[in-house]
């Protein structure tokens, strides 16, 4: 019943790759034991080997050492762990000052907001109209008491890439730890921690055709970080809980399957959807940067119409996309990203995010614009808003 759907919401979650499932299967049915020490029984040793092999694959893609990768349940846990763990470890040494950008995804943003309420000092750094961090404001915000900076590598909604080189240089210069959320950029945009002085990186499998419920946190060796969930001694006593070995193996397989050629293919789909929308539909604004952008992300506002109405029509026509409209969200709040880049509520109201994945084709870009053309025309015909008012 879902076969007919053209799925363009890969930033939210992706279809599992069959090869990932195949790689995971032995760890459900054969080596299903917990990872034991090298003195344990052989099934546990096999399981442990699968886990450690996966750790190496992920570490090497990031330019890290295997021991610097901790598996988690996903991005939310990774970012919570990075921020709360570091602040806890530095308590009393640095004055609990945290810096984040206004466009962070909820794991970082809402962690920061909560800490702010609890009495930590938190600075939210502005971005420009394309979503690029204000480096002067950022640099000025850092004090000798700043414990941690958390700035995403790429934005979840508008795909804007930050200049992580410049950001990490500033942090290194001022001797401040840097965490980056790479949930949407890992394997899509290069990130090499052996070259960039980034201390903590949030990673997830669900955006790259891996399983949900598995992620990782890169922790540079020597970074002060406390364990924030109490329990067993797994993950070198950094993250408690029985390791999700099948998922970790699936994650590493998903990482291996992403190629530069695939990223070029996604970029071509992205470019096509933007070009076609701009050419075929009047009153369209590109949200984010035209040049500094994730290969798999396009985000545009279709003025004078509301996003949930568009997505419902598209859904009935067999397309899945998402919108930053308040009407679409569970919280009934308009996208903080569109508002953060200086957009008004109207811009968020009619914004659509198209996010591509391995199972999309360039024809999908054409098909959705063909459908969208009519949907937008029909909705505009009943809208009281026009370019004149």
């Amino acid at each position: 019943m879902f076969n007919e759907t053209t799925y363009l919401d890969n930033a939210a979650s992706t279809r599992l790759d069959e090869a990932v499932l195949e790689a995971m299967k032995p760890y459900f049915f054969d080596a299903y034991a917990v990872a034991t020490s090298e003195f344990g029984y052989s099934m546990g040793i096999d399981a442990k080997e699968g886990l450690e092999r996966s750790r190496k694959v992920i570490a090497s893609r990031l330019g890290a050492q295997a021991g610097e990768i901790v598996f988690t349940s996903g991005s939310t846990e990774s970012s919570n762990m990075a921020i709360k763990g570091v602040l806890s470890a530095l308590k009393g040494k640095k004055d609990d000052h945290l810096i984040v950008s206004r466009l962070e995804d909820f794991p970082v943003l809402n962690t920061a907001k909560k800490l702010d309420k609890q009495g930590y000092k938190v600075d939210f750094i502005n971005v420009d109209g394309e979503g690029i961090l204000d480096l002067d404001m950022f640099s000025d915000a850092i004090t000798s008491q700043t414990a941690l900076v958390s700035i995403q590598q790429a934005n979840q909604e508008i795909g804007t890439l930050q200049d992580l080189k410049a950001i990490s240089d500033i942090c290194q210069d001022k001797d401040v730890l840097l965490h980056t959320d790479a949930t949407h950029s890992f394997t899509r945009i290069p990130l090499d921690v052996s070259k960039l002085p980034v201390d903590l990186v949030t990673l997830s499998a669900h955006t790259i055709h891996g399983p949900r419920g598995i992620g990782a946190l890169y922790i540079r060796e020597g970074t002060p970080i406390d364990k924030w969930m109490d329990g067993g001694f797994q993950e070198s006593d950094r993250r408690a809980g029985v390791e999700n070995i099948p998922a970790a193996v699936g994650f590493s397989k998903a990482v291996e399957l992403v190629t530069p050629e695939e990223n070029e293919r996604l970029a071509a789909m992205r470019d096509r959807v933007i070009e076609r929308a701009m050419a075929d539909i009047p009153h369209v604004t590109l949200n984010g940067s035209a040049t500094s952008r994730l290969p798999q992300n396009a985000n545009m506002t279709f003025h004078y119409v509301e996003g949930e109405s568009i997505t419902l029509h598209l859904d009935m026509l067999g397309f899945a996309v998402s919108t930053g409209s308040a009407c679409f969200s569970r919280s009934l709040e308009a996208s903080h990203v569109i508002l953060g880049i200086g957009g008004d509520h109207e811009r968020a109201h009619g914004s659509l995010r198209f996010s591509f994945g391995r199972f999309n084709t360039i024809e999908d870009s054409d098909a959705i614009i063909d459908a969208l053309k009519d949907v937008v025309t029909n909705l505009r015909a009943i809208s009281p808003l026009t370019e004149d008012n």
Partner: protein, 211 residues
């Protein structure tokens, strides 16, 4: 396929009835604001002798609930007298649509408000509002319930954005719980002024901020 709405809602959403701008309407209502979210306009043609709604249409800049409710409510109002149409409630419209998700209530209430404000517009234009009531804090607060708080998607009274309402000799002063530098400060102010300046005894509306 599984959709988040009933088949009645989807039908009205797919094929909305009575859509479009009306030339020379006898009454016109506009609720909501583009700065803050959904918006709906309702137009009426009224028989001056019988006060029956002969024709009605709407325009919507809104989500599926908003469009479907506007379509349903215009169907319900057509052929009714103004007095009868005034009594149509959001609940009746929602019921006729087979139910609406609770979270979508405010988007669909807007359609009902649009109809009521079009009727009020007709009555004001045709001298049917005989007893002019002096504007009070209560009347102002009631009108402010139609101003959206864009941060929440709910009105500014319910979200406690209004700190103070003062009414004195034709002057209304509102104090909002946001700084003047807030990104929505200007949009909310504009919406407030728009909602209040039509009150017959109000000469000026000032909106102040906490800082």
């Amino acid at each position: 396929m599984t959709f988040p709405y009933t088949k009645e809602v989807l039908e009205h959403f797919r094929n909305p009835q009575n859509v479009g701008k009306m030339e020379d309407p006898d009454g016109k209502g506009l609720e909501g604001s583009p700065a803050c979210g959904d918006m709906v306009a309702v137009y009426l043609k009224v028989d001056p002798d019988t006060l029956v709604i002969e024709d009605i249409s709407f325009e919507s800049y809104g989500c599926a609930s908003n469009i479907a409710t506007a379509s349903m409510i215009t169907e319900m109002a057509k052929g009714k007298t103004l007095e009868e149409a005034k009594t149509i409630t959001w609940k009746e419209a929602a019921h006729a649509l087979g139910g609406l998700p609770p979270v979508k209530a405010h988007c669909s209430v807007l359609a009902v408000e649009g109809l009521r404000s079009a009727i009020r517009d007709y009555e004001e234009k045709h001298g049917m509002v005989v007893e002019k009531e002096a504007t009070t804090v209560e009347i102002v607060s009631k009108r402010l319930k139609h101003v959206m708080n864009p941060m929440a998607g709910l009105d500014i009274i319910r979200t406690e954005l209004v700190l103070k309402v003062m009414v004195e000799e034709g002057t209304v002063r509102i104090v909002l719980d946001i700084p003047s530098t807030h990104q929505f400060a200007a949009a909310i102010k504009e919406d407030i002024v728009d909602k209040l300046e039509s009150l017959w005894d109000v000469e000026s509306v000032t909106v102040d901020y906490i800082s």
